[in-house]
Chain length 223, copies 2
């Protein structure tokens, strides 16, 4: 966890102060909301374990999933700008988080330079990630989107010590579709096509990646 979400090179005393900062834990069950659109913002959240989605709703009910987050990642950065959350964060499995009071984080990051810089990097990384999603939504075809999605998940599971090639999806086809700008039927069909072509083996939420190179090849060429 530390390697993923904390800056390196801190003194013992600094680590202690950070530990105090993130001492406020909370458990959530599948389906629970960590926060909702419009709720007052006062903390960001580090995921200790579990899996989340964030989404935005249009007045007419359309949903856009803006991201899936797993252990070691942060939630709630959207709330800083207006002091209110601008999306919903929902646990997709039983999860545990640390609440990090934002005002205390700002105080501490004035005193620990590496923490300040690390936090800036995390926010910037989120912006870069969002640009990647825009690219995906704006220019890619259904196959490319789903391939990119699977490879991204695979890479993040790997970074957490799980298998890169064998995992369970925590989200439904509809949620994947919402994230990728596709309908659930298209997601399902594309999974089936990938399976027919030997790129993956998929049974409901269980996915095995059989041909990483093949998925990567799907991503950059039209046809």
């Amino acid at each position: 966890m530390r390697e993923l979400c904390l800056p390196l090179g801190l003194t013992e005393e600094e680590l202690q102060r950070l530990d105090d900062l993130v001492s406020n834990r909370r458990r959530l069950k599948r389906g629970d909301r960590l926060y909702s659109f419009g709720a007052p913002f006062d903390a960001i959240y580090a995921i200790r374990s579990g899996f989340f989605k964030t989404d935005v709703l249009l007045e007419d009910g359309r949903e856009q999933v803006t991201g899936f987050q797993m252990a070691g990642e942060l939630l709630g950065l959207d709330g800083i700008s207006s002091e209110h959350h601008t999306c919903n964060a929902v646990a997709l499995e039983d999860s545990e988080i640390c609440a990090i009071p934002f005002s205390r984080l700002e105080v501490l990051s004035r005193e620990i330079h590496t923490l300040q810089h690390h936090f800036h990097k995390v926010m910037s990384r989120e912006i870069v990630r969002d640009h990647g999603v825009m690219m995906l939504l704006g220019t890619m075809r259904a196959e490319e989107r789903l391939a990119a999605f699977l490879l991204n998940l695979s890479q993040r599971f790997t970074a957490r010590g799980f298998s890169h090639a064998d995992f369970y999806l925590r989200m439904t086809r509809e949620e994947i579709g919402s994230y990728l700008g596709l309908k659930l039927e298209t997601v399902s069909r594309t999974f089936s096509r990938f399976q027919e072509e030997g790129h993956i083996a998929v049974q409901q939420k269980h996915v095995r990646i059989l041909d990483v190179a093949g998925l990567k090849a799907l991503m950059n060429y039209r046809g």
Copy 2:
């Protein structure tokens, strides 16, 4: 400019130090790049005047415009995460910017709390904006996308003291299309349709908004 991009409630001395921070100016001509993908990051940029686009390129040449920026807005936040820029920033008209050395910004924001908080808000606002673009790309139809685009531009021009209803586009149909996930022909056709329906008057890059309510109504209903 100050109202748009600086925190309020600073002392004279603090304002002076900020002025020093942003003293490094630079002029760009239409078509010039402020920075390119892969370039080392060492500063963020405040736009004093002019108009920019940022974009990301795929290996096969596909372009995704990730945003259009105007006076008072910041460029370069993407570069913090990896110390290298992850997109291109191109002037769409002759422009002037201030370079803000990032390490100096971090130093100063440790000392001026309101600057620190303001900077965090600006980064967060960028994340929220990106979520809006995802919603647009993931769930909206062509008409809705273009209506949202025009209303957003209108609102930002208004905030800068320009007419909300009469302005010149700085970008081509192709760039609008790239931003909105549409082809240039679709952008052109949709402009024409809006004109036929009396929502706008458009002649090349000159746009007049005739019916704000009509455009807003287009955004939330299917059909």
